[in-house]
Protein backbone atom coordinates (compact mmCIF):
# COMPACT_ATOMS: atom_id res chain seq x y z
CA UNK A 1 0.00 0.00 0.00
CA UNK A 2 1.40 3.34 -1.06
CA UNK A 3 1.30 6.44 1.11
CA UNK A 4 -1.36 9.07 0.40
CA UNK A 5 -0.34 12.73 0.27
CA UNK A 6 -3.72 13.69 1.75
CA UNK A 7 -3.01 11.63 4.87
CA UNK A 8 0.67 12.45 5.26
CA UNK A 9 2.26 15.37 7.13
CA UNK A 10 5.76 16.75 7.36
CA UNK A 11 7.28 15.30 10.51
CA UNK A 12 5.43 11.98 10.24
CA UNK A 13 7.75 9.06 10.88
CA UNK A 14 7.93 5.30 10.69
CA UNK A 15 10.47 2.94 12.20
CA UNK A 16 11.23 -0.72 12.18
CA UNK A 17 13.75 -3.03 13.82
CA UNK A 18 15.60 -4.35 10.76
CA UNK A 19 17.88 -6.86 12.49
CA UNK A 20 18.30 -8.31 15.97
CA UNK A 21 21.60 -9.78 17.15
CA UNK A 22 23.07 -9.70 13.63
CA UNK A 23 24.64 -13.06 12.90
CA UNK A 24 27.86 -13.81 11.08
CA UNK A 25 25.78 -16.18 9.01
CA UNK A 26 23.57 -13.38 7.73
CA UNK A 27 26.70 -11.45 6.74
CA UNK A 28 27.87 -14.58 4.86
CA UNK A 29 24.45 -14.75 3.19
CA UNK A 30 24.80 -11.14 2.06
CA UNK A 31 28.32 -11.78 0.75
CA UNK A 32 26.92 -14.68 -1.27
CA UNK A 33 24.05 -12.77 -2.84
CA UNK A 34 25.79 -9.43 -3.43
CA UNK A 35 29.01 -11.00 -4.67
CA UNK A 36 31.14 -8.89 -2.31
CA UNK A 37 33.36 -11.61 -0.81
CA UNK A 38 35.77 -9.22 0.88
CA UNK A 39 37.19 -11.33 3.76
CA UNK A 40 36.73 -8.32 6.08
CA UNK A 41 33.10 -9.39 6.28
CA UNK A 42 33.35 -13.16 6.64
CA UNK A 43 36.90 -14.20 7.54
CA UNK A 44 37.74 -13.48 11.18
CA UNK A 45 41.31 -14.81 10.93
CA UNK A 46 42.19 -12.43 8.08
CA UNK A 47 40.26 -9.51 9.60
CA UNK A 48 41.87 -9.75 13.05
CA UNK A 49 45.41 -10.81 12.13
CA UNK A 50 45.97 -8.94 8.86
CA UNK A 51 43.49 -6.05 8.76
CA UNK A 52 43.64 -5.46 12.56
CA UNK A 53 39.94 -4.98 13.16
CA UNK A 54 38.38 -6.48 16.32
CA UNK A 55 36.28 -8.88 14.22
CA UNK A 56 34.50 -9.23 10.91
CA UNK A 57 31.91 -6.54 10.29
CA UNK A 58 28.86 -6.14 8.09
CA UNK A 59 29.02 -4.76 4.57
CA UNK A 60 27.84 -1.15 4.57
CA UNK A 61 25.54 -2.30 1.80
CA UNK A 62 23.94 -4.85 4.13
CA UNK A 63 23.03 -2.03 6.53
CA UNK A 64 21.74 -0.02 3.56
CA UNK A 65 19.80 -3.04 2.26
CA UNK A 66 18.14 -3.56 5.64
CA UNK A 67 17.36 0.18 5.79
CA UNK A 68 15.83 -0.10 2.32
CA UNK A 69 13.51 -2.83 3.59
CA UNK A 70 12.09 -0.40 6.15
CA UNK A 71 11.67 2.22 3.41
CA UNK A 72 9.80 -0.01 0.96
CA UNK A 73 7.61 -1.29 3.80
CA UNK A 74 6.74 2.35 4.51
CA UNK A 75 6.35 3.90 1.05
CA UNK A 76 5.12 0.83 -0.82
CA UNK A 77 6.49 -1.37 -3.60
CA UNK A 78 7.99 0.41 -6.56
CA UNK A 79 7.54 3.89 -5.08
CA UNK A 80 11.13 4.90 -4.33
CA UNK A 81 12.57 7.50 -6.70
CA UNK A 82 15.94 7.85 -4.97
CA UNK A 83 17.75 6.50 -1.93
CA UNK A 84 21.19 7.56 -0.73
CA UNK A 85 23.16 7.10 2.46
CA UNK A 86 26.42 7.73 4.23
CA UNK A 87 27.90 4.93 6.32
CA UNK A 88 28.68 6.59 9.64
CA UNK A 89 29.78 3.67 11.83
CA UNK A 90 30.79 0.06 11.36
CA UNK A 91 28.26 -2.64 12.24
CA UNK A 92 29.62 -5.70 14.00
CA UNK A 93 28.01 -9.11 14.62
CA UNK A 94 25.50 -8.90 17.47
CA UNK A 95 24.14 -5.55 16.35
CA UNK A 96 20.45 -4.78 16.70
CA UNK A 97 19.47 -2.07 14.23
CA UNK A 98 16.42 0.14 14.00
CA UNK A 99 15.77 2.08 10.81
CA UNK A 100 13.64 5.21 10.79
CA UNK A 101 12.08 7.37 8.07
CA UNK A 102 10.86 10.92 8.73
CA UNK A 103 8.91 12.98 6.19
CA UNK A 104 10.85 16.20 5.56
CA UNK A 105 8.77 17.69 2.72
CA UNK A 106 5.87 16.93 0.42
CA UNK A 107 6.08 18.54 -3.02
CA UNK A 108 5.10 18.32 -6.67
CA UNK A 109 7.65 17.34 -9.29
CA UNK A 110 6.93 16.60 -12.97
CA UNK A 111 3.25 16.03 -12.19
CA UNK A 112 3.95 13.58 -9.35
CA UNK A 113 3.55 14.13 -5.64
CA UNK A 114 6.86 13.34 -3.97
CA UNK A 115 7.84 12.95 -0.33
CA UNK A 116 11.35 13.88 0.75
CA UNK A 117 12.32 11.50 3.52
CA UNK A 118 15.16 11.65 6.04
CA UNK A 119 16.54 8.21 6.84
CA UNK A 120 18.62 7.03 9.75
CA UNK A 121 19.51 3.67 11.21
CA UNK A 122 20.79 3.32 14.76
CA UNK A 123 22.18 0.47 16.84
CA UNK A 124 21.04 -0.51 20.34
CA UNK A 125 23.41 2.07 21.88
CA UNK A 126 21.92 4.83 19.73
CA UNK A 127 24.95 5.15 17.44
CA UNK A 128 23.88 6.20 13.96
CA UNK A 129 25.26 3.67 11.47
CA UNK A 130 23.48 4.83 8.31
CA UNK A 131 22.21 8.30 7.55
CA UNK A 132 20.64 9.56 4.35
CA UNK A 133 17.70 10.66 2.28
CA UNK A 134 15.09 9.13 0.03
CA UNK A 135 12.33 10.34 -2.22
CA UNK A 136 9.13 8.44 -2.91
CA UNK A 137 6.09 8.90 -5.10
CA UNK A 138 2.84 9.40 -3.17
CA UNK A 139 -0.78 8.84 -4.13
CA UNK A 140 -2.93 11.97 -4.16
Amino acid sequence: MALKASELNVGDSYEEEVCRDLSRTQIVQYAGTSGDYNPLHTDDKYTVEIAKYPSVFAHGMLSMGMTGKMLTNYVGDGRLRSFGVRFTAQVFPGATLTAKATVAAIREEDGETIADIEVSTVDAEGTVVVKGQATAKLDA
Binding site: V18, D43, K45, Y46, G68, G78, F87
Partner: protein, 167 residues
Protein backbone atom coordinates in the same frame (compact mmCIF):
# COMPACT_ATOMS: atom_id res chain seq x y z
CA UNK B 1 33.16 -1.91 -13.32
CA UNK B 2 31.75 -2.79 -16.67
CA UNK B 3 29.10 -5.47 -16.91
CA UNK B 4 27.98 -6.54 -20.36
CA UNK B 5 25.06 -8.64 -19.22
CA UNK B 6 23.37 -8.45 -15.82
CA UNK B 7 20.30 -10.69 -15.99
CA UNK B 8 17.75 -9.84 -13.29
CA UNK B 9 16.80 -13.33 -12.14
CA UNK B 10 13.90 -14.18 -9.81
CA UNK B 11 16.01 -16.70 -7.85
CA UNK B 12 18.74 -14.13 -7.30
CA UNK B 13 16.15 -11.59 -6.10
CA UNK B 14 14.76 -14.18 -3.67
CA UNK B 15 18.18 -14.94 -2.21
CA UNK B 16 19.10 -11.25 -2.06
CA UNK B 17 15.86 -10.42 -0.22
CA UNK B 18 16.57 -13.22 2.27
CA UNK B 19 20.07 -11.88 2.87
CA UNK B 20 18.79 -8.43 3.87
CA UNK B 21 16.02 -10.02 5.96
CA UNK B 22 13.20 -8.74 3.75
CA UNK B 23 10.11 -10.98 3.92
CA UNK B 24 8.03 -9.00 1.38
CA UNK B 25 6.31 -11.63 -0.79
CA UNK B 26 6.80 -9.51 -3.91
CA UNK B 27 10.40 -10.77 -3.96
CA UNK B 28 9.47 -14.46 -3.56
CA UNK B 29 6.16 -15.25 -5.24
CA UNK B 30 5.35 -14.27 -8.82
CA UNK B 31 1.64 -15.10 -8.36
CA UNK B 32 1.45 -12.71 -5.43
CA UNK B 33 3.57 -10.13 -7.27
CA UNK B 34 1.00 -10.05 -10.10
CA UNK B 35 -1.58 -8.74 -7.63
CA UNK B 36 0.61 -5.80 -6.52
CA UNK B 37 0.96 -2.34 -8.05
CA UNK B 38 4.21 -3.15 -9.91
CA UNK B 39 2.54 -6.37 -11.13
CA UNK B 40 5.74 -8.42 -11.19
CA UNK B 41 8.64 -9.64 -9.06
CA UNK B 42 10.71 -6.49 -8.64
CA UNK B 43 14.24 -5.90 -7.39
CA UNK B 44 14.82 -4.53 -3.86
CA UNK B 45 16.23 -0.98 -3.74
CA UNK B 46 19.88 -1.97 -3.34
CA UNK B 47 19.77 -5.05 -5.60
CA UNK B 48 21.91 -3.64 -8.42
CA UNK B 49 24.90 -3.86 -6.09
CA UNK B 50 24.87 -7.57 -6.89
CA UNK B 51 25.87 -6.80 -10.49
CA UNK B 52 29.34 -7.52 -9.04
CA UNK B 53 28.42 -11.19 -9.59
CA UNK B 54 28.38 -10.54 -13.34
CA UNK B 55 31.53 -8.42 -13.49
CA UNK B 56 34.27 -10.80 -14.72
CA UNK B 57 37.00 -8.64 -13.14
CA UNK B 58 35.36 -7.88 -9.79
CA UNK B 59 38.29 -7.88 -7.37
CA UNK B 60 36.40 -8.92 -4.23
CA UNK B 61 35.58 -12.40 -5.56
CA UNK B 62 38.05 -15.29 -5.53
CA UNK B 63 39.03 -16.20 -9.08
CA UNK B 64 39.36 -19.83 -10.10
CA UNK B 65 42.98 -20.90 -10.06
CA UNK B 66 44.27 -17.67 -8.50
CA UNK B 67 45.51 -16.80 -5.02
CA UNK B 68 43.04 -15.16 -2.69
CA UNK B 69 43.91 -12.60 -0.03
CA UNK B 70 41.59 -14.12 2.59
CA UNK B 71 42.79 -16.81 5.00
CA UNK B 72 43.47 -20.43 4.24
CA UNK B 73 46.14 -22.18 6.25
CA UNK B 74 47.67 -18.76 6.89
CA UNK B 75 45.84 -15.52 7.74
CA UNK B 76 46.19 -14.38 4.14
CA UNK B 77 46.80 -16.22 0.90
CA UNK B 78 48.96 -13.43 -0.52
CA UNK B 79 50.85 -10.44 0.80
CA UNK B 80 50.26 -8.05 -2.08
CA UNK B 81 47.12 -5.93 -1.91
CA UNK B 82 44.74 -6.57 -4.79
CA UNK B 83 44.32 -3.88 -7.40
CA UNK B 84 40.93 -2.23 -7.29
CA UNK B 85 38.84 -2.42 -10.42
CA UNK B 86 36.56 0.25 -8.95
CA UNK B 87 32.78 -0.06 -8.71
CA UNK B 88 30.93 -2.55 -6.54
CA UNK B 89 31.57 -2.66 -2.84
CA UNK B 90 34.14 0.00 -2.25
CA UNK B 91 32.81 2.65 -4.58
CA UNK B 92 36.22 3.82 -5.69
CA UNK B 93 38.19 1.37 -3.57
CA UNK B 94 39.01 1.45 0.15
CA UNK B 95 36.10 1.46 2.58
CA UNK B 96 32.61 2.26 1.40
CA UNK B 97 31.65 5.75 2.61
CA UNK B 98 28.43 6.54 0.72
CA UNK B 99 26.03 4.99 -1.73
CA UNK B 100 23.29 6.76 -3.69
CA UNK B 101 20.69 5.43 -6.10
CA UNK B 102 18.35 7.22 -8.48
CA UNK B 103 15.57 5.01 -9.82
CA UNK B 104 14.44 5.95 -13.32
CA UNK B 105 12.41 2.85 -14.17
CA UNK B 106 11.11 -0.10 -12.16
CA UNK B 107 13.62 -2.95 -12.23
CA UNK B 108 11.99 -6.36 -12.42
CA UNK B 109 12.78 -10.05 -12.90
CA UNK B 110 13.39 -10.79 -16.56
CA UNK B 111 15.13 -7.50 -17.32
CA UNK B 112 18.67 -7.67 -18.65
CA UNK B 113 20.92 -4.73 -17.84
CA UNK B 114 24.31 -3.45 -18.82
CA UNK B 115 26.42 -1.39 -16.44
CA UNK B 116 29.09 1.14 -17.21
CA UNK B 117 31.08 2.97 -14.54
CA UNK B 118 32.86 6.26 -14.77
CA UNK B 119 34.96 7.99 -12.15
CA UNK B 120 33.23 10.95 -10.49
CA UNK B 121 34.46 13.64 -8.12
CA UNK B 122 37.39 13.23 -5.76
CA UNK B 123 38.01 15.22 -2.58
CA UNK B 124 40.08 15.15 0.62
CA UNK B 125 39.31 15.73 4.26
CA UNK B 126 41.42 15.73 7.40
CA UNK B 127 40.69 12.60 9.43
CA UNK B 128 39.76 12.88 13.11
CA UNK B 129 42.85 10.90 14.09
CA UNK B 130 45.18 12.76 11.74
CA UNK B 131 46.09 11.86 8.21
CA UNK B 132 44.17 12.58 5.09
CA UNK B 133 40.95 10.89 4.09
CA UNK B 134 40.75 10.60 0.33
CA UNK B 135 37.28 10.22 -1.12
CA UNK B 136 36.54 9.12 -4.67
CA UNK B 137 33.23 8.74 -6.42
CA UNK B 138 32.24 6.27 -9.11
CA UNK B 139 29.05 6.61 -11.10
CA UNK B 140 27.46 3.49 -12.60
CA UNK B 141 24.65 3.66 -15.14
CA UNK B 142 22.45 0.61 -15.47
CA UNK B 143 20.56 0.41 -18.76
CA UNK B 144 17.99 -2.07 -20.06
CA UNK B 145 17.97 -3.82 -23.44
CA UNK B 146 16.20 -0.83 -25.00
CA UNK B 147 19.09 1.35 -23.84
CA UNK B 148 16.90 3.16 -21.29
CA UNK B 149 18.48 4.30 -18.06
CA UNK B 150 17.03 2.20 -15.20
CA UNK B 151 19.21 3.03 -12.18
CA UNK B 152 22.07 5.46 -11.59
CA UNK B 153 24.31 4.32 -8.73
CA UNK B 154 26.90 6.61 -7.20
CA UNK B 155 29.37 5.03 -4.81
CA UNK B 156 31.91 6.87 -2.68
CA UNK B 157 34.98 5.08 -1.43
CA UNK B 158 37.39 6.41 1.18
CA UNK B 159 41.05 5.62 1.68
CA UNK B 160 43.19 6.80 4.55
CA UNK B 161 46.70 8.12 4.23
CA UNK B 162 48.83 7.89 7.33
CA UNK B 163 50.54 11.15 8.33
CA UNK B 164 54.08 11.35 6.93
CA UNK B 165 55.48 11.60 10.48
CA UNK B 166 53.97 8.36 11.76
CA UNK B 167 56.01 5.17 11.80
Amino acid sequence: MAVKKFPIEAGHIMMFARSVGDANEIYYDSDYAETTEPGAVIAPPTFVQSSAQFDPDYFLRPKIGQEWFGSGKEATGITKKPESSGGGGGGGGGLHAEQHYVYHKQLQAGDVLTATTKPGKTWEKEGRRGGKLMFSESVTEYRNEAGELVVTATGVGVRTERPATST
